[in-house]
Symmetry: C2
Subunit: 429 residues, 2 copies
């Protein structure tokens, strides 16, 4: 891109963000009824305009096939009637969620008589950067809208036409409800420089949420002047304590690792206390192997498994424990103590989700106190770290950051608050 | 600085931050009693080691005088017995504050029986970058310590020796309480490149809080890869509505502007509804002028004041309304409506604190709903936007950011939370 084109792109992105910001001001004071009307109308339009959506999607599918996308990726890209029905149902679920805006989260009357309240309000304009799945357009867009925020939705280029068509549905819903269409905005170009330009606009955009693989998230976070909330990866641990019920431990290890392997809250590492390793590891490893899970075992675990004739085993070195497998694969390590388990998690973990399996409450409480992760379970699967499981009703993403929101993020995470003070002439000093 | 020196500096800052981070892990699980013991011991040491502190301070004062610091700056730098007594009293007040760590802020039992709790915990390692007042070393250091965080304290070079001596007091308190001294760390050089190096260490430092003038804050925020919480400036507005009690309006305008002029929550702009401008402005302006406050009036306000024979007046152009006077000076504007007042604040404000003076509750509620600032008062002085006035017991800073913390920040703003789940074998799917 030459300098003139770059300047033009930056100017267009600035204009887009300024329009989104103006729309955000209107949305911030819109009633729940009005926001819900926009969402409900969009749910209807998803099916009414099915032909149009499928035509846009066909262009992406065709380009994807021509570009050599594999079958699973093409599948995730597809918008057909069942997918559209699910998206419409998702919109109706967001309508049913309570509106977080206007909720009072603190109140006190100061000694001088000032009534002070903390009241939730929208954050403003939120940039969502995501990979190719077009359903994110509807899910993220609807959550931003419900929480009174304008959003700029930037999906992967493979889903360019599908995303634009879905955003048009949300915009039509906004328009029919008397709300500004610019509250859901989409950049007019798949050029990557558009994202870079948007990420600089910290006076117009209040928050960026990157969603996708670690590479995308890191690129966004490193380029951003706008604040971001994110998680790079989920290296979740299952720690089987010496006081564990070993049957329960196997059940939780299997579910944490294998119930769905491609997600960030799946376990990547199994830590086993040395005192129970010889009893636990051989049967557990057999079961994992039988289900097609590769095992990467460090020397102590390897020795125990080899002595029991369990295999095949892959080796585990230092890099192994930093690996997010996102697949049927698991790192395995024997630890000498609860302390060593905690140290391992501190060193190799991603501060996402860990679980301890134990019958010893003191060990569980020490683990929960000392491990510095967003979610820390006692005798439960790591797979439960999820907005729906937590009762948030929805999930805009998961944060392994420590500021603003940690762990699964629902509608409340898309709000900030104001301090409102009602006085009768109170002054200082 | 040559490349080798820069590499060495970066390595030293990384080592410093790594030590702070290790200390943070210990502090995160320290009991309230232990943290309070460290603070109480530091309060004693401030007076026991007075001679040592005064000697360190004398070096800074001497360098300041030689470098041409003016009398008010030298005064703010001075550590004498009354100042040390006040700092010790401040430490005892922090001891008396409730510990935010471990407080449960959410609890639910999920349909599957999982008991889910959200529990406050420290953020980790916090970098405080501030200008020359050495009292910030004690105040910020004690709040970080109380909330279980390690801190790296980086004051202005004018207070280099004073800050180092005060940090040594906090470290001695930590040591006597059996806590790691590195929980309060100070870079070993006044070189500005040290701050730049620290601000890159996003895997070791969790948060940076810059405190001081806009230049310092902007430099920190723009250089930082570490998340920051900050406010650039406080352009606070007093809006006198058409339904205002004009006597009350004058009282609040005077207090908001003049009770203390050098602070961020002082008013910088007075907006007056056109319907009351002729009655309100002349007597209000006379009173402000009589108290030595310069008035920068836009044409409508100017015309009203000149017709009433009130002066002298300075002119107000567009740039005027972006100015944070921090002095006995006030921008004055007549607005045609509540809408125009809100638009003006949206355009020129800094999202810090605004107040509306009115007897019309509907106008007040509209103002509080539509203005997008951290604190929005009805019939109260902007000077009340303060951690102590809000009952937070302390103030680590004020945020005009929208994420994590907004407005005055107390101990809770120095915490994040964990999700703790107690199960009995719950799995997914």
């Amino acid at each position: 891109m030459n300098a003139a084109a770059a300047t033009d792109l930056a100017a267009r992105m600035k204009a887009l963000a300024a329009e989104a910001r103006a729309a955000a001001r209107v949305l911030a004071t819109a009633s729940s009824a009005q926001k819900n009307a926009a969402l409900a109308r969009a749910a209807e339009l998803l099916l009414e305009r099915r032909a149009e959506l499928e035509a846009a999607n066909a262009r992406d599918l065709e380009a994807g096939r021509a570009g050599g996308l594999d079958a699973p990726k093409l599948d995730r890209l597809r918008l057909d009637e069942p997918v559209l029905k699910r998206l419409a149902e998702g919109l109706r679920q967001v309508v049913a969620l309570p509106d977080p805006v206007g909720v009072e989260i603190g109140r006190s009357t100061r000694p001088n008589g000032l009534l002070l309240r903390q009241v939730r309000c929208p954050i403003g304009t939120i940039l969502i950067v995501f990979e190719s799945r077009p359903n994110v357009t509807v899910e993220a867009g609807s959550l931003c809208l419900k929480s009174g925020n304008a959003c700029i939705l930037r999906g992967g280029r493979e889903a360019l036409h599908s995303n634009a068509a879905l955003a048009a549905i949300l915009r039509a819903g906004l328009k029919d409800a008397g709300l500004p269409e610019a509250a859901v905005s989409v950049p007019d170009t798949p050029d990557r420089a558009a994202v870079a330009a948007l990420l600089q606009l910290d006076t117009l955009i209040d928050l960026a949420i990157p969603r996708g693989g670690e590479g995308l998230i890191r690129a966004v976070a490193e380029a951003a002047r706008v604040p971001t909330i994110k998680h790079y990866k989920g290296i979740c641990h299952v720690y089987v304590d010496r006081a564990a019920d070993l049957e329960l431990a196997l059940k939780l290890a299997l579910n944490s690792k294998l119930q769905r392997v491609s997600v960030c809250n799946a376990a990547e590492t199994l830590l086993v206390h040395a005192e129970v390793a010889e009893r636990f590891l051989p049967p557990a490893a057999k079961e994992l192997l039988a289900r097609g899970c590769a095992l990467h075992a460090e020397p102590k675990a390897r020795a125990i498994l080899q002595a029991a004739g369990v295999g095949p085993l892959a080796e585990a070195g230092e890099a192994t424990f930093y690996t997010e497998w996102l697949d049927k694969a698991l790192s395995v390590k024997v630890v000498a103590s609860l302390d060593e388990a905690i140290e391992h998690i501190e060193r190799f973990g991603s501060r996402h989700t860990e679980t301890i399996v134990t019958a010893d409450e003191a060990a569980a409480r020490a683990f929960q106190l000392r491990v510095d992760s967003a979610s820390i379970f006692w005798n439960a699967s790591t797979r439960l770290a999820d907005g729906f499981e937590y009762g948030l009703g929805a999930e805009i993403g998961i944060s392994t950051d420590k500021l603003h929101a940690r762990g699964p993020m629902g509608l409340e995470a898309l709000t900030t608050y104001k301090w409102l003070g009602d006085g009768s002439g109170q002054v200082r000093g």
